[in-house]
Amino acid sequence: MSGEPVVYFEDVQLGEEYVSPGRTVTEADIVIFAGLSGDFNVLHTDAEHMKASLFGERIAHGLLGLSIQQGLLDRVIPGQTVGPLAAVKWKFKGPIKIGDTIHVEARVTAKKDGEQPGRGVVTVERRVVNQRGEVVQEGETDHVVGRRTV
């Protein structure tokens, strides 16, 4: 196991905020994600087709943006604060284009009892923001977190 300190449900503060580092989304990211997911939609893979589209160029898969933000936020949230995902509600509000740099702004918005007595559920509201300050994705995630006192 990693040597990170264990964070319990009781340690998570309502209203706690996190800001992730930035990350530039590259053409390579999109190519690898297309291969990994098997989603070769022209939106992500056909530069010529996309010249004539609403976006004017290839855009990142929405789920690639979601996956990258998960990794970015993992880097700033201490220990196991956000345990396994229980639920996601998500909106894709704008495109992430090749060369865009995104970061995540997140806040703990709810803490409630879990279905099992030793667990709680933490809700984190997240916004994925690009280099122009535009929110390109947003939503909330529910996480199952263990309690210190069972």
């Binding site: 990994l36 939609n41 939106l43 690639l64 880097r75 995902l85 998500w90």
Partner: protein
């Protein structure tokens, strides 16, 4: 000269409501997990555990491996998703989906898809609803 027929596509008008579609399966491997981890720079979990978001990502590609032509999706608008069981390396997942609602708009139409991801034991590991903006058939 004979020319290969352009790829057939399904448009908003072609979408049928409440017709279930099952995809073939895919076995999730350590290679998938390593690629996903390097792509997303996720914190490593237990080695045999598949990251929560990976089955959802892979299910979007499974939708391309069915007998019917792909839907002309203009944009993925959003989704609501729940995670019921962990997926481990070696598990084989597939998805079963159906359109539960469609709504015509000025440009294109909105399609709501219900999707379940099942494993080799037919357990539902994840499921939810996806909202897609789909193109209408071009007027000729």
């Amino acid at each position: 000269m004979a020319r290969a027929q352009a790829e057939r596509r399904l448009y908003f008008e072609d979408v049928q409501v409440n017709v279930p579609l099952e995809t073939p399966g895919i076995t999730l491997t350590e290679a998938h997990v390593a690629l996903f981890a390097s792509l997303t720079t996720s914190r490593p979990g237990e080695p045999a555990t598949v990251p929560d978001l990976l089955p959802l990502c892979v299910s979007s590609g499974l939708g391309w491996r069915v007998p019917q032509p792909p839907l002309v999706v203009l944009a993925f608008m959003g989704f609501e998703w729940r995670f019921f069981k962990p997926t481990r390396v070696g598990d084989t997942i597939r998805s079963v989906s159906k359109t539960v609602a469609k709504r015509s708009m000025k440009d294109g139409g909105v399609v709501i898809e219900e999707r379940q991801i099942l494993n080799q034991r037919d357990e539902v590991v994840q499921s939810g609803r996806l909202t897609l903006l789909v193109a209408k058939r071009p007027q000729t």
